[in-house]
């Protein structure tokens, strides 16, 4: 199977010094579910940001869908891979949940009827109907996580990177998010789950990667 995301000898160091990742080689298929685990500061989030293009590798190359990722703009990468931030608040910019989910669809040329239909579908899927007109910043942490995911899933990306989506959630909320991710998987969308939660990772992912000291074990 062809790799949807491929990293070749990718290393990353901060400009002020301090190597975070060293010679990472990784192949990810489009509908695979992979967990990326490792202690704090091991470079998990950095790896996710390198794939999506928020950071540039110090050396090595990233390929998405067979093309060198350098050739893609940030928006082009965003169309191929959905990225759910570690802090969901960081990705909200609309004044209601409905607008947040429909925002990118509208700007990507979808007709208003279809946007409405897709938004309603997402509100139902993520159990957010009752908050349709709520200000995103006023939601609870669990609801924010669900909204962040809904806004990304609505775009139908080929693959999703989720950065620590279970952080700050209680047991019940974790179960709910787990159900949502299972639904995502059932729809044939693959994901890279950056997490500390080993149980959740083994339940939700077919492959678990361990990152330690900037290297994949």
């Amino acid at each position: 199977m062809t790799a949807y995301i491929k990293l070749e000898q990718v290393s990353f160091s901060w400009p002020q010094g301090g190597q975070v990742l060293r010679d990472i080689n990784l192949s990810i298929e489009k509908n695979s579910t992979i967990a990326l685990m490792g202690p704090n500061g091991s470079g998990k989030t950095t790896l996710g940001k390198l794939i999506i293009g928020l950071l540039k590798p110090s050396s090595g190359r990233v390929f998405i869908s067979g093309t060198d990722a350098e050739e893609y703009s940030l928006a082009a990468r965003g169309r191929l891979i959905g990225y759910v931030f570690q802090n969901p608040e960081g990705q909200f910019f609309a004044s209601t949940i409905t607008e947040e989910i429909g925002f990118a669809l509208k700007y990507r040329g979808m007709s208003p009827d279809k946007v409405q239909q897709r938004v309603e579908e997402m509100l139902t899927l993520f159990e957010l109907e009752e908050y349709a007109d709520t200000f995103p910043f006023n939601l609870s942490q669990g609801e924010k996580q669900r909204l962040a995911l809904a806004a990304i899933i609505a775009l139908r990306p080929g693959f999703i990177i989720l950065d620590e989506p279970f952080t700050g959630l209680d047991w019940l909320r974790k179960q709910r998010l787990q159900e949502v991710l299972q639904r995502v998987r059932n729809e044939g969308v693959g994901y890279l789950l950056i997490s500390h939660d080993r149980d959740m990772a083994s339940r939700l992912c077919s492959r678990v990667l361990q990152l330690e000291g900037g290297e994949l074990q």
Partner: protein
């Protein structure tokens, strides 16, 4: 509480910066602005501040500099005319000198403010309180200044979040693009409000303003050198202003 005097004191730096920046605004004579710049750069070097930091800051504002220089050059058509278009003077000796003076003025101000980097946040608050500024006010102002880079970072993150939803900002028409940019104000403002509320709660939880008086970890006194620099700054400022009023300096 008395503290060990540490030269230069924050009050000394504030006085020097206030005099230099005020003179930079008041003076139009480029030769005097050059003298002011030389004094400021010498002060930075003596204080051990690397000029590369200043250069980095100046580089960040290079387009603003160019714009101001162009505006000055076009608005001041005095002296020898070098370039003219349909009766409008675009470049003249007076315009060039005006542009030079404007650039020198901004450079002096930015360089002078660099002197304040000698002190940390807590020393600044203490210094302002020693100068009679109400503690709450000093704290608020410096807290706001400290948050500017954080807000800028948030603005950049929100922009990246929009692009990551697959929206090619450069490809959409200007009107729509401006509308998208207006969306960025929402998370930045909301983020600032949420953060302010959290800080206010954290400060009150640590008994901020619970008592009419507060203790200070340090309350440094001025050294002889501090008094000398303050007197020198005030004397220099008063002297230059006197000559400015008398018309000796433009």
């Amino acid at each position: 509480m008395k503290g060990r005097p540490e030269f230069p004191d924050v009050r000394t730096l504030f006085t020097a910066v206030l005099i230099i920046t005020s003179l930079a605004i008041a003076i139009n004579d480029y030769l005097w602005l050059l003298i002011l710049l030389a004094i400021t750069l010498a002060s930075l070097l003596i204080a051990g501040i690397h000029l590369t930091r200043l250069l980095r800051r100046l580089r960040r504002y290079r387009w603003l500099f160019l714009l101001i220089a162009l505006a000055q050059s076009i608005s001041n058509g005095s002296g020898t005319v070098f370039l003219e278009f349909q009766g409008y003077v675009l470049l003249s000796s007076g315009g060039l000198l005006g542009a030079l003076a404007a650039l020198l003025r901004i450079t002096v101000i930015l360089a002078a403010v660099g002197l304040l980097s000698l002190k940390d946040y807590q020393q600044m608050v203490t210094g302002l309180a020693q100068m009679g500024v109400p503690y709450e006010f000093a704290f608020m102002v410096l807290l706001a200044v400290r948050f500017i880079p954080v807000l800028m970072e948030e603005f950049r993150n929100s922009l990246a979040a929009i692009e990551l939803r697959g929206i090619e900002l450069k490809a959409i028409p200007l009107g729509q693009r401006l509308k998208v940019y207006s969306y960025l104000l929402m998370p930045t403002t909301a983020g600032a409000l949420i953060r302010s509320r959290r800080i206010a709660i954290a400060m009150e939880a640590r008994a901020f303003r619970a008592y009419p008086r507060r203790t200070w970890l340090q309350w440094p006194s001025l050294t002889g050198w501090d008094w000398f620099i303050i007197a020198l700054s005030l004397g220099f400022g008063a002297g230059v202003l006197y000559f400015k009023i008398r018309g000796v300096i433009a």
